[in-house]
Symmetry: C2
Subunit: 221 residues, 2 copies
């Protein structure tokens, strides 16, 4: 376990939940389906948008749209704060005050740069497609030059980042333990239902390997 | 359907996905388990944190910690941007470019005020407890005066807000429809597993109504 890369990435509240090692940060980024990107707009006001991301090594790729105004500031290299959060369960304590959540979250600070080189565009597009459904980049038709022109891919170095993790049962005050109130954890996870084929799907096209079954990368053990 | 409350809440990219009516915005805020709060810190840098929220009428309550440094700027009435996002499914197109997600998201802009009156503290604490698990406020021991002193509850008016919603199958280009590539939607939802009682739970305390079964409020129909 290494220390925080900066003061703002240090976990002050519940420091025992903080983690700063790359493996932990990478695992959470890989499993989280979406992230929320925050930045400061031209008027100095905060903005937050959900988007899809993917990690390749120590680079976080973000998927935006060239046509979407909010992304213009980010293309220009504005500072961003990216948060990825996985909710693992509700922690129900006897007291409302000690209710909590089991979660794994990562925050990354940095400046986004626009991906422009064809080779890196392809790398990032494949990573984002595989992030959504592992193996999907090998199944789908990958972008044409014109489609890449309409796509905005941003890269943020995963250099200033931290993770925060809560696991385990509730922590009630000693004097509450005897109360006749149920306490424990309700596990939560993102679950896939039955795939719905596109109404215009040609007959005989089977469900692809990326969905048989659909699985997000999970930490080992 | 009413129009956007401000230019920054107008959905420019895919305007057909935008919604500005209170019922739609409220429903998404109620169902989304957590939200991400963005603000600008003392150095002018963007910050984003996940947190629990609850809606009461046209007020969005946010749960923070008095001990957590990042929340200090928010207590002082700094502008915030709150994003709540529900992922409903993966939209797999034949082309990587037309991959998408089905989702319902809300963004709220405003200034947070700290809740200080005992009556509103109680209202907000009950709302947040019930937001996590509907009915839980009637089961749990509610906060003492000292516990309220350690809790930070913020209120943001839901005045400048918009929703963005995508539903339905993928939209591939006409020339891709004949490709032998599976296309369709994989529905996703937050699913609860089997509740795990606290190891110190007294014998004979039954699973409470809030978990039998656990359900988040869903839109009708």
């Amino acid at each position: 376990m290494t220390g925080p890369a900066s003061e703002r990435t240090r976990v002050h509240r519940h420091p025992e939940r903080g983690a700063y090692d790359r493996a932990t940060i990478h695992t959470i980024l890989d499993e989280a389906l979406i992230c929320h990107v925050g930045w400061v707009d031209e008027e100095g006001e905060p903005r937050v948008l959900p988007t899809i991301h993917a990690r390749v090594g120590d680079t976080l790729y973000l998927h935006g749209s060239r046509a979407a105004r909010p992304w213009r500031a980010l293309r220009a290299g504005a500072p961003v704060c990216v948060a990825a959060t996985i909710v693992d369960g509700l922690v129900l304590a006897r007291s409302a005050f000690n209710h909590s959540m089991n979660y794994r979250s990562v925050v990354v600070y940095g400046r986004a740069r626009e991906v422009t080189e064809p080779e890196e565009l392809d790398l990032a597009a494949r990573a984002i497609t595989d992030h959504v459904a592992p193996g999907r980049a090998a199944e789908a038709r990958m972008p044409t030059v014109d489609e890449y022109r309409q796509t905005l891919l941003l890269a943020v170095p995963i250099a200033e980042a931290s993770a925060k993790i809560r696991t385990g049962p509730p922590k009630d005050d000693a004097e509450d333990l005897g109360l006749p109130i149920w306490a424990g954890v309700l596990p939560l996870r993102l679950a896939a239902g039955a795939a719905k084929p596109d109404p215009s799907l040609a007959a005989g096209v089977p469900l692809p390997p990326s969905l048989r079954p659909y699985r997000r990368p999970r930490p080992a053990g």
